[in-house]
Symmetry: C2
């Protein structure tokens, strides 16, 4: 019987698991809460336990798997299989993840960062259509990215490749958590959209439900801003204009450099769908090099939350030949 792949998507609130065929079809999936107490020391044991428990449940054995792939936040040493500085997991010191999981499960293990793994997922089974040149931008609490060139992830020399959220789109703009000013993340993440909305509301004096909510002290989300914009709220539309302007500029500059076949936009903010995509596209066309404009295609992500486990599982395919 053909061996299976294990995909794990480790996040700050949940850990998602899936068992997939080598063709990338999910056969089982489940998730557990991430226990970040005690410096995150329960996380890896919890992963091992959950894997072993489900193997029992499905009456499967480690030798029926090619291996396990996992996406994780933090700074990763892919060769050593360690992670450090994943602050939403409380991992402040170096975690020997690969060693512990291989020992605990008896399966081979590979890992990469969460945005890279989501990019691999969208490339394999989603909007990337198995292309060799695919760029992925995820608009969530922050803005992350995963870039695939010649069929391989762009890691760069220390793994900072794909930091598209920190492309500078507005020199001297909003201060970013990274210490720089004007990073894309400060305009196109969920929190960035809200920041832009608050600033624009302050200057705006016309009629607007968005302005009324902000003035009233209601909690604003990126979803509220986009929903009001779709409903023709003037202020909300100026917010979306600004967000999609900087996003279009970043997509164009990224594409002028990489000329990917597909530039895939995912993450929570992308739930605004075609309304978002069309306005990003308009700005992309303004800033993209002519050859790039006609060859790089902007698309919405297709896999939603499954991108992580699917992409993670694809990491395990490197073990196919040795199993």
């Amino acid at each position: 019987m053909a061996k299976k792949l294990f995909g794990v998507d480790l996040g700050g609130t949940t850990i998602k698991f899936a068992i997939l065929t080598q063709e990338g079809e999910i056969q089982q999936k489940w998730s557990i809460r991430t226990n970040i107490l005690d410096d995150g020391s329960h996380i890896v044991p919890d992963i091992v336990d959950s894997i072993n428990h489900h193997l029992d449940l499905y009456k499967m054995t480690p030798d029926q798997f090619v291996g396990i792939g996992m996406g994780t936040p933090g700074t990763i040493d892919r060769d050593k299989g360690t992670v450090v500085g994943a602050f939403n997991l409380n991992w402040k010191t170096t975690q020997r993840v690969k060693e512990q999981i291989e020992e605990g499960t008896g399966m081979k293990f590979a890992l990469d960062n969460d945005a890279n793994v989501a990019a691999l997922g969208e490339r394999w089974k989603g909007a990337g259509n198995e292309g060799d040149d695919v760029a992925f931008i995820t608009l969530g609490t922050g803005v992350g990215g995963g870039l695939i060139s010649n069929g391989k992830l762009v890691h760069g020399i220390v793994g900072a490749g794909g930091e598209v959220g920190h492309m500078i789109v507005k020199p001297n703009g909003y201060l970013c958590t990274c210490g720089n000013r004007g990073c894309l993340e400060q305009y196109a993440s969920a929190t960035g959209v809200v920041h832009v909305a608050q600033d624009k509301a302050e200057e705006y004096e016309g009629n607007s439900r968005l302005k009324a909510m902000i003035d009233n002290g209601d909690e604003i989300t990126s979803k509220i801003v986009f929903d009001l914009a779709k409903d023709n709220d003037y202020l909300a539309n100026t917010v979306v204009d600004e967000v999609t302007y900087y996003l279009g500029l970043a997509c164009a500059n990224l594409s002028n450099v990489l000329n990917p076949e597909y530039l895939v936009i995912g993450g929570g903010v992308s739930a605004a769908g075609d309304f978002l995509l069309k306005r990003v596209q308009k700005n992309f066309e303004k800033f993209a090099f002519p050859t790039v404009r006609t060859s790089t295609q902007l698309k919405l992500a297709e896999l939603g939350n499954d991108a992580g486990v699917i992409g993670a599982a694809s990491l395990a395919r490197q073990f196919e030949s040795v199993n």
Copy 2:
């Protein structure tokens, strides 16, 4: 005896040739004028003749070579070995370069665009130090680039990868030949530097030799601007400030995406040397993501005019196993 490599660097004014060892050492080099008359129809026959003539001269035969690699302007189909739209060669229709050169010389032939080939050269024997992740920017009449990730050139889906000269550094800035506004090329190429100088001279009212020259109608070059800046001319220094600001921004955004080990700056404008590099570096540090700032190293190119033939020759190494 170990086989040799042939490198050809096809430009609008000269065609450079070199015979190299497989270790990248140049053993012979020469060049001929590019004859662009009659729709550039003499170019390929001239290349074939020059190669065959020099084989005779050195009493060598085609089977002593792994193959020929060539860098060329224009839009390239690497699989078919054709070139189209190389306007400085007068090549308006599709040229079957590979077919004609293989037939005419009896050697295998591969080609890529000139900036990519120069990047390969700098990576192999120059500032790139054989790194797997190297970015190359060339500041000449225009601004070109060649990007290497995971040891391979980033071509993208239709070969527009590496168009760093068309990254937008100033939305709504100077109009570019590509039709967009604010491309890096309009600020950091030799002509861009002069354009910035002319605009700044118009507003400036203080003492400046640069301003005096421009007001006098003297012909200004990028070299003159940098030489005057080194000599503490105030206006020339504001020009260099602006040029290196946009260049530093582009280098940072490129590095935030690719995190190369080395970002190599070459081309005529880079003759300004450390004076240029230091000011680009200052702006790069302002705009680069912290991890990138400490891991990506900016360097000046080291091979000068030889980068083209050396990088071109490296293309022929793909034939090593089949010869």
